[in-house]
């Protein structure tokens, strides 16, 4: 199960990067970036999983005294939670800049933006 999720995460990273590198439309590049970031989160969460254990929430099934033997690693989950929230912020910024670029040039084709080419 860990390996399945990890392989899916790595594949998502590769597919997202492929889309970001080969597309010329800026909106499509942003879509591909969100897919790649989902893949990174999937890999991180799968690293924290331990087979046969349950979520890090203490309740009737996970008494406090036995917590260390029954729960999985909570640290990657806390990391990924914040990473997802920041991911939305990054996406919103990229979209705002893309809209601004469209306003100045009336196109989202990256090959039409040649001002910074040497």
């Amino acid at each position: 199960m860990i390996l399945v999720a990890m392989a899916a995460g790595f594949l998502l990273i590769l597919m997202g990067l492929y889309g970001a590198l080969t597309n010329r439309n800026i909106l499509r590049m942003i879509v591909a970036f969100t897919i790649a970031s989902t893949g990174v989160n999937l890999v991180l969460v799968s690293v924290g999983y331990i087979a046969g254990r349950t979520a890090p929430i203490l309740d009737a099934a996970v008494p406090v005294a036995k917590a260390a033997e029954r729960i999985i690693d909570p640290v990657p989950q806390a990391l990924v939670l914040t990473a997802i929230v920041i991911g939305l912020g990054i996406t919103a910024l990229m979209l705002a800049y893309a809209f601004k670029l469209y306003e100045t040039k009336r196109t989202l084709d990256i090959s039409k933006f040649t001002e910074l080419k040497g």
Partner: protein, 86 residues
């Protein structure tokens, strides 16, 4: 019952990768955005299988909900923005 979760994880992982493939290869931009939302949704099911309910909730609410709407707001303003899609 013990074989249920591994089988489920394989099925959901395949669905995630299939949705990502559609999102990257399809010609129409709205379908690509919706497929990227589906990638997030399937990934949140995978998080649930990996015993991370907090992360699954965040991914479902933020990754597949709000992000998709942000994309559609911008898409409505730029009208696709693609005359030539190689």
């Amino acid at each position: 019952m013990s074989a249920f979760l591994p089988v489920m994880s394989v099925v959901v992982a395949l669905a995630t990768i299939g949705a990502a493939f559609v999102a990257i290869r399809v010609d129409s931009l709205p379908v690509a955005i919706l497929s990227a939302g589906a990638v997030s949704l399937f990934a949140s099911v995978l998080f649930l299988i990996l015993a991370a309910p907090d992360v699954a909730m965040t991914e479902a609410a933020i990754g597949s909900g709000l992000t998709t709407f942000l994309f559609f707001f911008v898409l409505g303003r730029v009208g696709g923005g693609e005359q030539d899609n190689d």
